[in-house]
Symmetry: C3
Subunit: 369 residues, 3 copies
């Protein structure tokens, strides 16, 4: 059946996205193992078996291959050879503009051989803005002289002045379950001293994690949380956003953005309905779900008000991921909204408006970009 | 494609529903803010942003507008003006009969300017029956002279004599997680004394909540539980019906009805298969899911035996909600069952019979209406 | 619309399955109550109400009736009469070969009047292999003379020598939540002594359960876990596979197979992506979901790499279940994969290859059958 909604399809195709949570793409060469491991998010070991045999692997072959001049569904060996010939910088120059993103909001908290904020702008020909990771600020404060809390606050304010928001990976550092109130200055000082004595790396101290969150709340810029699906350092059972309930009650007006959310996207949508200041995206989950992403995108459109849903790719490493996030989102939202329109539940004009909200208007308003 | 199952569609259209859990509709005037806040269930603050931009808001514009003589998908401003012109009583006289409900089972436990049981019957031209809220009985017992337990029992029996069942909002008062056994008389007396001393309002004392549940079990009439999705006073993580497991094992033959259930409808369906006396509905969730409600209704039809699934709207306030619950359920069950029939998994006769079970026969048998 | 993928449909029809987790079918007569109770998995009481009124009951009438020469959707009474006339042995000779299974991996841990490994091979004309249940080994060790740990180890090694894997029903004996590290020899000796003194039946002692799991890890053959949906002796809240995280981190290279997984199939798929040695199936869930099984099968194809997904029926008792598992899986995987191919997300050749992986190649490699 021909789509009966060409205006919707056309708007989805041409809307420029704001990718509200992303990391840098690779710019330096790597071997096939590096690439294949990047197709698996959850595993922290070298992946055994054919890494392309997953929804993401199939999506790369279906949707990225044509961008490289290869046939759809090309075999993994041929795909790898073409991408090796081109090199990471050239891949980035192909895939990033093809994502049709006007603004990248770059979480710079992962150390790794990837493009920085300026590099993302340069290689994509679009704007790029920084999102400051709180746990990285903490590690900088641990290395700074003098009082930890003062150092944290100084670094956060300095870095955040040029940034559009902050990000927490509390999900990877013990999870959401448990007390998330603000610790006292004495507790912070004691915890900081203990942490500095033990080396001051890879923050897992709960007191200091809580301290960082409340500093971010005070800053007032949107605070992003990794939620749900990630690598196995994250205990998925403790990354359920419902455990943030008390924290959200304390968060006053600072916007809180729940990222990725799989398999808790329905819980996250409920929180976005329950709190005026809570937002969510599907991020990484859309990319990894490949052919199954429309079902996920549909669930994001359940309880969350449409003014609270954002687009992101969470791309990191292979430039394919920055492109696939956009492509799968466009395909998925079209499938879902076309269905709502065809069934008489939504008007086509409303569907187009909701596309624009999620694709960019909500993020533009939230981050002021 | 024309539906190949006109008999199914026709039976779904004309079956008179038993709305087994509902509240009164508004009968007195209110402003736009009141109406728009009623389109958001989870938020307890005044809603910020365009309240119509949600599945429920879009469903109002799609399915309620025509009942008021407006075009489908009419804009929010025009919708609001028409509903303001008509007034709440007239809206009730339009929407309630249009829901084609033969019996309303009215939970009278919410204080508010809404129709009472007789009012619901009068305005809809249908029968109405009371469901007694246990926490309200508790608050009445707290205000009564003498022994709390005796007062509770007396009030419960008096009120329940004319009622078809009881209802608990334990989900809003601490959740299901934890001990739900019957407390001793001494524990009850002590807890009641403490609660009365502190004012005897908004019961959250676990001992007294447990006491009320076991009194309701003893009564033997169906006991409804709010489960899952509601406003944010309910900690959704603790409203998972699986935490009721031990309580259900104690419940003997008193029917237990799990209401709403989002996002735990699959867990609730499992419990309905596991216990002869457990039932469930989709209630409020169907209304708020709008265009996404068919997927939810489909999941209600997974593990639960078909004799255990009930219809309700949980309508409260705007008469649109009493109507939308019915309309979205009819649309959704048609979509789902037509799919089963078209795929050769169900016969059309079976689909029609299951519609009748859920729409009314299961509730008629359970409540004796 | 005619399926555009006849090669896919044809391969799904003719692929011989490896049923990687199954129990014996009945061979001796029983009454209608026995049969109807077998259509309900979760309830441990005699089922009240029409047992056929469920997805499984409808699936029996739709898909099993034709195998017995009855019309599709035949009424329950006629179905029962035909199956009674034929008798269990004849039913097994009809349904088991019709499942088109080349290898049955039989969990022999349920005592009951069902076919043993040799009986399954004989009645089906296919190969059959044993899976040894750890809790049964424990009960045998409790009855053996001398040191419990040595007896357990000796029995396990002896039985496992001819078996393809082991199985744990920890989900039924306290659940996954809590410590699953290896206990010390002294703890094992003390717990064994206590358990033997109390009768040595129905193992629920956590120390001995943990001991058994670690013995199975040491054995190195695939270790299957009942996960999620089962009867109500299993506290579903504690059968969430995410609680296995720490155990999986300890499991080194021994393959761990998560069975059934409803409603945690997305969590299980995540674990299969996160750990090279974790696998999953949909088992029992597919059978009980009937017309709703395609949606479940689709969710199994989300985060799990395609080399980690296995087919099983978990059939036990009525031979219909051994057949329905296969039939519903074939119908469901066809629906899902045909959708992926029609939407341009997968090639047909890939779809066929994934069918072969799940149907048999993954299990053949994993179990060496």
């Amino acid at each position: 059946m021909e789509p009966v909604t060409p205006a919707l399809a056309s708007r989805i195709d041409d809307v420029a996205l704001i990718d509200q949570h992303v990391h840098g793409c690779w710019l330096t060469p790597g071997d096939r193992r590096r690439f294949e491991n990047a197709l698996n998010e959850a595993n922290t070991d070298p992946v055994v078996g054919p890494a392309f045999d997953s929804q993401l692997g199939f999506a790369v072959r279906a949707h990225c291959a044509p961008v490289l001049g290869l046939p759809k569904h090309v075999d993994p060996q041929a795909y790898w050879e073409r991408r090796r010939q081109l090199g990471e910088a050239e891949l980035a120059r192909l895939f990033l503009p093809a994502a049709h993103v006007s603004d990248w909001l770059v979480d710079t908290g992962i150390d790794g051989d990837t493009a920085d904020v300026a590099g993302m702008a340069e290689v994509s020909g679009a704007r790029a803005h920084e999102v400051v990771r709180l746990e990285q600020v903490a590690e900088q404060a641990a290395r700074a002289p003098g009082d930890y809390a003062a150092a944290f606050e100084e670094i956060l304010h300095r870095r955040a002045a040029a940034a559009v928001g902050t990000k927490s990976i509390l999900a990877y550092r013990g999870g959401f379950d448990g007390d998330l109130t603000e610790p006292s200055p004495a507790q912070v000082a004691e915890a900081a001293s203990r942490w500095r004595d033990s080396g001051g790396t890879r923050l897992r101290d709960r007191v200091l994690l809580r301290f960082g969150l409340h500093q971010a709340l005070r800053l007032g810029k949107p605070l992003q949380f990794h939620v749900g699906f990630g690598d196995r350092d994250c205990d998925l059972a403790k990354a359920n956003p419902l455990y943030l309930l008390d924290f959200l009650r304390q968060a006053a007006d600072t916007p809180i953005v729940l990222l990725h959310c799989y398999p808790y996207e329905r819980e996250a949508g409920y929180l976005a309905q329950a709190f005026n200041h809570v937002y969510l995206d599907g991020g990484l989950s859309v990319t990894h779900l490949g052919a199954r992403s429309p079902a996920f995108i549909a669930r994001l459109l359940e309880m969350a008000p449409f003014g609270k849903i954002l687009y992101s790719s969470d791309g990191f490493g292979p430039a394919e991921l920055h492109y696939l996030g956009a492509t799968l989102w466009r395909r998925g939202i079209h499938r879902v909204l076309r269905g709502f329109v065809d069934d008489g539940d939504w008007s086509e004009a409303d569907a187009i408006r909701v596309v624009e909200l999620i694709a960019r208007d909500n993020s533009a308003r939230l981050y002021g970009v």
